[in-house]
Amino acid sequence: MRAAIVVTPLDPSAVLAEIAGVANGASLLFVGTVRDVNDGRAVSGIEYTTYQSMAVRELEGIVAEAASRFGTSDVVVEHRVGQLTLGEASVVIGVAHPHRAEAYEASRFIIEELKRRVPIWKREEYVDGSREWVDPTATRAEAAR
């Protein structure tokens, strides 16, 4: 298992090759990419920043927890930071397991925990030239109104 924060483009197929093996009947790849619209605003790119040392520590903790809970050590997570354009991958999660149910659960667990507690932030840049830090808690509060 492995977790990393990188500044270079992510390579999902390399992650898939890393986790796959004859003992695993299910290899699952999640790729998060930069979307062109958020909250109705046209997005042109995203700048990701991080508290690198803590983010790696948290990501490694999540990967270890997933490995222990779902029973596989074939788990890899890579998150990219820096300037990303539309369609580029910001996160890749690879999980392989003898069986599919656990692979799906582990993959979902990892992305939800990552979004909940890994210190990474994004500043969206909009087609109109403005840019703003994304606050998921504010979005949730507004949605709940």
Binding site: Y48, M54, R57, K115, W133, P136
Partner: protein, 80 residues
């Protein structure tokens, strides 16, 4: 004693910097440090009770600080 405060993303914008060396009395807690930080933020852009990590671990506001601690004030995270 000296504490290093770290600011990220929108909070770095609030303080106009990413790092600040701060003097706090021995025995100070995270909450005491936050009071000093709020005093530096007259526009109250920093929330009353932000997330904090001490030495790369999420910490409660009643945690007692030690000399040289690295205290990160953490905006709502938005990875993925």
């Amino acid at each position: 004693m000296t504490i290093t405060a770290l600011f990220f993303a929108s909070y770095a914008d609030v303080f106009g910097r990413s790092q600040l060396e701060m003097e706090v009395p021995t025995g100070s807690t995270v909450a005491d440090l936050l009071r000093q930080l709020h005093a530096l933020d007259p526009e109250r852009r920093l929330p009353p009770a932000p997330l904090v990590a001490v030495n790369e671990r999420y910490a409660r506001h009643d945690q007692v600080l030690r000399p040289g601690d690295e205290v990160a004030v953490i905006p709502p995270v938005a990875g993925g």
